[in-house]
Symmetry: C2
DNA sequence: ATTTATTTACGAAAATGTTCGTAGATAAAT
DNA sequence: ATTTATCTACGAACATTTTCGTAAATAAAT
């Protein structure tokens, strides 16, 4: 696995692809348009660039293309968190955890899940 | 507080300033040079730009300038986490927490601190 | 006193990312 | 059949960020 560094726009598109699974340029553009102003050919160009970079794959379905994310959401998040911890938290992942926990609403269920995860980590320690 | 959006390079410089407190261009450049290749005038220019944007303040000390971060590390992290959760975790802060907890080494002390924080959140719920 | 080093300011090149217009091909609509 | 719509490819304009060279001022060294 090479370290892929998607740009801001590319990430937005990946999000759409991760949620749609497989999609035409039109579909991606429609989704993206809900979030921000973007022209059809801009979306197309972005997908073409991402295809060259192999961040997405595509299959020709008749005259048009169906695109699909070529990297998983988890792997990408992992990579981004690592980088983020470095650049914004001077390397301290736990500071990031604390900061996020403290400043964002968490449901009871989520807190329970986190507690469970912590218990698990403690067991394996 | 306006939403400040430091660039990658600006963040690196902020980190140096947060750790040094107050520093000359020379000092900042020396620190930054440990991390990556960068010319003196590049560092200078970056600091000048950041000064215009008011992300850093400076005082004239004789012939040279002493720079200081004008925004706190915490506020910046807060802002960056919010943005990061949106762009990389489709809005789910807790997914970010779980992902980070699961993939980074945490000491017993850190885990205890996190548990304490969770207990506190549950109390105030 | 003259040279050398260090500092700030500034402009502009280089690098990177984003946006879109235009052209050509094919399908759909009239 | 002709027009209209939709698709891909591609180049180039635009925007943003990064980098550094050069000049002017001042201090330090010789």
């Amino acid at each position: 696995m090479e370290p892929i560094k998607p740009t801001e726009s590319e990430l937005q598109i990946l999000q759409v692809l991760w949620s749609l699974g497989q999609a035409s340029v039109r579909q991606v553009n429609d989704e993206l348009s809900k979030v921000r102003d973007i022209g059809y050919t801009t979306t197309l160009k972005l997908l073409q660039i991402m295809f060259e970079k192999k961040i997405v794959s595509r299959i020709e379905e008749g005259r048009y293309h169906l695109y699909e994310a070529a990297i998983t959401e988890e792997a990408t998040q992992q990579f981004l968190v690592d980088k983020f911890v470095d650049t914004a938290f001077r390397g301290s992942a736990m500071k990031l955890v604390m900061q996020t926990l403290g400043n964002h609403q968490a449901s009871k269920e989520e807190l329970d899940e986190i507690k469970k995860l912590i218990a698990q980590i403690e067991q394996n320690a």
